[in-house]
């Protein structure tokens, strides 16, 4: 009984620690006047409206969404054939590409960012918007690569075998069996890359920071001129997007499995 109570308390403390800054930010975002008072004075959602009505914030929002939608697509486009090849073929040396796909995520992000900065600067393309899209696509290739590898690993090879025996060629097998089975992993890989790209700061800053602003860059640049409730509203927006996306993954897939609880648990 006491053990249970202690566990409750421990969970509550960790939860409080994780939620506290977000609660305060959500609080200040509904202040009526342009102050960061907490508890908030008055109630107003105008700061949320400002994300969409203020031309600068709206532009940053459009930049962020464009970047996230396109770069997540690139990440998946790289990860899907790679994961498929590694699953389909025995080619130990091809694992080098898997390591390459995991590397950007394991190394400190500053390093990858600086690599891109020196690369684009050398090519003279520094500051072009598409450079950020490609850079993010590479930077986040790890996420779809991991989810898709899990997806392929979960396919029962007997199914594929059966289809082949019945005369299906590679293309038919891919279209009618493999793709439908890994679709949830494809979607969650895309979603992970999308949410992280939306939030990413340093790579975006080092590639296009001087020419255009994404939401995180805009927040950071605005920090210098003082804190406004709009920044808090944008932060809340980010938390909500992340929670909705991951919540949807959990609702339609098995998030525990995606995070490593591979088939060892009952229930």
């Amino acid at each position: 009984m006491t053990a249970r109570l202690l566990r409750r308390i421990y969970f509550a403390l960790v939860g409080l620690f994780l939620a506290a800054p977000l609660i305060v930010v959500a609080g200040v975002s509904i202040n009526e006047k342009q102050t960061l008072a907490f508890p908030p004075k008055g109630f107003s959602l105008s700061w949320y409206a400002q994300i969409f009505t203020d031309p600068e914030w709206r532009l940053a929002l459009i930049h962020s969404l464009t970047l996230a939608v396109c770069s997540a697509a690139i990440a998946v486009a790289i990860a899907l054939p790679l994961a498929w090849f590694l699953w389909r073929r025995i080619a130990p040396w091809a694992n080098i590409f898997q390591v390459l796909g995991l590397a950007p995520f394991v190394l400190p992000p500053v390093i990858t960012a600086l690599g891109f900065l020196s690369f684009w600067a050398t090519l003279g393309l520094f500051g072009q918007f598409y450079t950020a899209i490609i850079s993010h696509g590479i930077f986040f290739v790890t996420l779809p690569l991991v989810t898709l590898s899990l997806g392929f690993a979960s396919i029962d090879r007997a199914l594929v075998e059966a289809a082949s025996t019945m005369g299906a060629d590679d293309r038919t097998v891919l279209k009618t069996i493999v793709l439908p089975l890994i679709l949830p992993y494809l979607v969650s890989g895309y979603a992970f890359a999308f949410v992280l790209s939306l939030n990413e700061y340093i790579v975006a800053y080092m590639t296009i920071g001087f020419t255009s602003e994404t939401l995180p860059i805009k927040i950071f640049n605005s920090l210098r001129y003082g804190y406004t409730p709009t920044m808090a509203a944008v932060s809340v927006f980010f938390v909500v997007v992340a929670a909705v996306v991951f919540g949807a993954i959990a609702r339609f897939g098995d998030i525990r499995k995606l995070l490593g609880a591979l088939g060892t648990q009952e229930s």
Partner: protein
């Protein structure tokens, strides 16, 4: 269709696009950065091609030495705090029902995906004088007037633990979920209380996982580039902050690149160590 080695050129076709992209946009930029670290600084443009060791020689200064020592110390501290909090937490989490686990995991992923800008902004609000927690202490009569708790070392440490904690939990999660439940059952049958079973059976059984996680969180914390800047004083700046600062504000890309190469070497050495530890675990 069994797994088979590729025979014809067409079998390699799926690899073409990923290989091309990763080589052109990861290997080449990385090599460019290494090359730039030997270049000369040129304030007018980014750099002038050259082959000098000046950028690396700058490491041999007291200032750089103290920044490096501080970065390593901070990253170690963050790793230890995170694992100390996360290990018992993750263990208890894996004992919860499926629903509870899912809710927590969604929450943890959401916090993990937040950018450093937002974490920095949130914590600087929470620790500020106008909207901070000290207002709460004033309200319940523990303090006379609200104070700002930043910039300070404590604020940097708190922010970085906040950033790394979800990561730590998610790294520990697979290992703890797969932990053989009979281990604990055996300990309990032999009369150990749950905390005793946790400390005397679970913790030693996962010793290598804990070490590997410590190293991974250490590398993760080493990469934090904004929090020391937003929440701390210049004396709390780390190597990653310095790299960003040199590259962007001092426009000294060669020096930034040299520091980055140095940071890669440290990280790679540690990742290698993690793999080694992991292999030993599998061998057991």
């Amino acid at each position: 269709m069994r797994r088979e080695p590729p025979r014809t050129l067409a079998d390699y076709a799926p690899l073409a696009f990923p290989a091309l992209m990763l080589i052109v946009f990861f290997i080449v930029p990385f090599s460019t950065m290494i090359a730039v670290s030997f270049f000369k600084r040129n304030p007018a443009s980014f750099y002038t091609p050259d082959f000098v060791f000046d950028n690396y020689e700058r490491f041999l200064s007291v200032f750089f030495g103290s920044v490096l020592a501080f970065s390593l110390m901070l990253a170690i501290l963050v790793a230890v705090c995170c694992v100390a909090i996360a290990f018992p937490f993750t263990y208890l989490l894996t004992k919860c029902g499926r629903r509870t686990q899912t809710v927590w995991l969604v929450g943890l992923l959401s916090v993990l995906s937040l950018s450093e800008v937002i974490i920095g902004f949130s914590w600087s609000t929470l620790l500020s004088r106008t909207a901070g927690i000290t207002n709460l202490l004033v309200a319940i009569g523990l303090m006379d007037q609200p104070v700002a708790l930043l910039p300070s070392f404590g604020a940097v440490l708190t922010g970085m633990v906040y950033q790394a904690l979800p990561y730590t939990i998610l790294v520990l999660y697979p290992a703890l979920v797969r932990l053989d439940p009979t281990l604990i059952e055996a300990a309990r049958t032999l009369g150990a209380s749950p905390p005793r079973a946790f400390f005397n059976v679970v913790t030693p059984a996962l010793r290598n996982t804990i070490v590997a996680t410590l190293i991974m969180v250490f590398v993760f914390a080493l990469g934090s580039y904004l929090l020391p800047q937003i929440l701390g004083r210049p004396s709390n700046w780390t190597l990653s902050v310095l790299i960003t600062d040199q590259a962007i504000y001092q426009s000294n890309m060669p020096f930034a690149a040299a520091m980055a190469v140095f940071l890669v070497l440290i990280s790679l050495a540690l990742v290698g160590l993690t793999l080694l530890v992991g292999r030993r675990e599998h061998a057991l």
